[in-house]
């Protein structure tokens, strides 16, 4: 095991652990903080793939903006353990069964992939660098890129509709 592998396993374990903590935490504020931590761990994986731009964007967008808004709302609502409604036992069981099924399907799907062929480009990969990403985005994927502006515009119009005082 070289350093890259050790780092990879360490980061992966940390990611899974923090993702579990998001679900397990009783306090919503802690959940959000763990989620932010999870995003940082995922960003770490991007760095290991030499995708520095994705690493930064992941931090800017998720940890820096979206999760901050989450924190905002949750902190202002001042949720705590007692305000969480009790759920039926069978409802919880149903959740466990459904989630377990999804896990089963995903594990089954990932189990028999031919991993040997796929080697992560830890240092040599350069698709995540900003120049290459920009070229791909504005050549091959320019149509979806432009179309996504319609998506954002409609979301903005919607925000104004919802937010404006009558």
């Amino acid at each position: 095991m070289n350093i890259t592998q050790i780092l990879f396993w360490f980061l992966s374990a940390l990611t899974v652990f923090s993702a579990l903590m998001v679900v397990v935490s009783k306090n919503p504020v802690y959940s959000v903080l763990w989620l932010i931590f999870t995003f940082f761990c995922i960003s770490g994986h991007y760095i290991m793939l030499n995708a520095q731009f994705l690493f930064i964007v992941n931090i800017i967008v998720y940890a820096g903006a979206i999760m901050v808004l989450f924190l905002f709302v949750i902190m202002l609502m001042n949720l705590n353990q007692s305000s969480e409604p009790k759920k039926h036992r069978w409802l919880r069981m149903a959740g466990v069964v459904a989630g377990g099924c999804l896990l089963l399907v995903l594990v089954a799907a990932l189990k028999n992939i031919d991993i040997k062929k796929q080697v992560a480009e830890t240092n040599t990969g350069d698709i995540g660098l900003i120049g290459n990403l920009g070229k791909v985005l504005f050549n091959q994927y320019v149509v979806p890129f432009e179309i996504s502006s319609i998506l954002f515009l409609s979301a903005m119009v919607g925000t104004v509709v919802i937010g404006k005082k009558e």
Binding site: V105, L106, A108, A109, L110, K111, N112, I113, Q140, Y141, V142, V143, P144, I147, S148, I150, L151, L153, S154, A155, V157, G158, V160, V161, I162, K164, E166
Partner: protein, 455 residues
């Protein structure tokens, strides 16, 4: 391509119109004329005249099927504007923005009917969904509307998450986003998992059981004028996307998913029809009826042959037009319960007659478009030669559906009551009559639509 760009442009124009134009009539006129232009542009494209030549890198494919479907959607929206645009004024003050959002939805509809890449499918579905969350919650002072919007948003976001996960798995297995069909064999488990996730998320979007739980609450809570739009145009658009996805990408795996889709179809038919029987409010009944109609449309996904494609187009037209008509009448009423329709025929004989035609079409009575579209669906399923129990079950459920549609007709014609006084302008009435005429004519000459698919 014409329609795609023009709908986006008109979305922006309508967005700006609300502070440039002060009169609501002007905004409405602008929206209607915009719709006419979009429709005309799309028809021109069907004839081979394309205004904008854009290299989409094979991500969007405007073929006959999608263009014809777009035309159906645009005609339905035009009818919807003519009948119901006036009722949008009552929802809130953002009149121009509502039209803008609807145009954006239409932009998403053109995308999801013509995608040739999973990315575009995702964008299309999202451009449809996000304005809808807003429109659902646009009646801000009404708690039910807020609740519906939040519910729709949370569940919709969840199903979009499933869809993205599915797309990621498919991409992992095939290494491409374009929907050229799965060619690798043996099929890897990744593809199957991705297909299942995509199937579930699409089933959510078309509100097929057991992913239908959001439908009644959202349709009931949303302002009626937007329920009409959601339950018709958006729903058939999701079906077209569903069909394209499973035809183009997973067509080669048909034997793997057919049983699952058959089960979903049967459950949808059962739940939709049986629950609709017990409803007391016509609006809620229509929500459940939309689930049961979704069950019939699922049969096209199941069969996935030439008949199915023709049938789905016919079904879209028949279902959209009839449901828009019923909702247009319903919006004029104050009492949405079945009793609200008592003695409606005496009060408004013309409206009652047209409503009857719409209901007959939804129930699938011969000489209406609804009958032929259901017939096409059953023919398509029978054509596959498998799962004949599905055909029998569908016919049985169609019979059940007659009960709750006829309850409205019975209330209108045979029940005594005061009858609600409603104001219906003359153009409104004539549009309804025209709509009823189209439905009857389509029921006699379905080739008017199907012709376009081939010539």
């Amino acid at each position: 391509m014409n329609a795609l760009l023009l709908t986006a442009v008109f979305g922006v124009i309508m967005m700006l119109s609300s502070f440039l134009l002060t009169s609501k009539t002007a905004i409405r006129g602008l929206a209607v004329s915009g719709m006419v232009i979009v429709l005309a542009a799309n028809v021109l494209e069907m004839m081979g005249i394309v205004f904008f030549k854009i290299d989409t890198k094979d991500m969007i494919a405007f073929d006959r099927f999608s263009l014809l479907f777009n035309s159906i959607v645009f005609i339905s929206t035009l009818v919807y504007f003519l009948l119901s645009a006036r009722d949008m004024e009552k929802v809130g003050i953002n009149y121009g923005e509502y039209f803008a959002l609807i145009f954006f939805v239409l932009c998403g509809v053109t995308l999801s009917s013509s995608f040739h890449s999973l990315l575009i499918l995702f964008l299309g579905i999202e451009i449809i969904s996000i304005p809808l969350y807003i429109l659902t919650g646009s009646d801000k002072r009404n708690l039910k509307s807020n609740e519906a919007s939040l519910k729709y948003f949370l569940l919709g976001a969840f199903s979009t998450g499933l869809m993205l996960m599915g797309i990621a798995l498919i991409y992992g297995a095939t290494g491409t986003f374009s929907t050229n069909g799965i060619t690798t064999s043996p099929t890897s488990a990744l593809v199957i998992a991705g297909m299942l996730l995509l199937m579930f998320s699409m089933a959510f979007k078309v509100s097929a059981a057991p992913f239908h739980f959001w439908t009644p609450d959202v349709y009931d809570g949303a302002p009626t004028v937007f329920t009409s739009f959601m339950a018709t145009i958006v729903k058939v658009a999701a079906f077209i996307a569903f069909m394209r996805l499973f035809n183009d990408e997973f067509g080669s795996l048909q034997s793997r998913w057919q049983l699952l889709i058959a089960l979903i179809t049967a459950i949808t038919l059962f739940i939709g029809n049986i629950t609709a029987v017990f409803q007391q409010s016509v609006k809620r009944m229509l929500a459940y009826s939309s689930i049961s109609q979704a069950g019939f449309m699922m049969m096209a996904i199941f069969a996935m042959n030439a008949d199915a494609r023709e049938g789905l187009l016919l079904y879209s037209a028949a279902y959209c037009l009839a449901t828009i008509g019923i909702f247009a009448v319903l919006m004029k009423l104050k009492d949405y319960s079945f009793d609200g329709f008592n003695a409606f025929a005496k009060q408004q004989p013309l409206l009652a007659a047209t409503t009857t035609i719409f209901l007959l079409s939804l129930a699938g009575i011969p000489l209406t478009a609804g009958f032929l579209s259901k017939f096409w669906m059953i023919k398509a399923v029978a054509g596959t030669g498998k799962y004949l129990w599905l055909v029998i079950f569908a016919v049985l459920m169609a019979v059940v559906s007659v009960y709750y549609y006829f309850r409205v007709i019975q209330a209108m014609y045979f029940k005594e009551g005061d009858g609600q006084t409603i104001e219906a302008s003359l153009p409104f009435k004539w549009t309804l009559v025209l709509l009823a005429g189209i439905i009857v004519l389509l029921g006699v000459f379905p080739n008017w639509i199907i012709y376009w698919l081939y010539f």
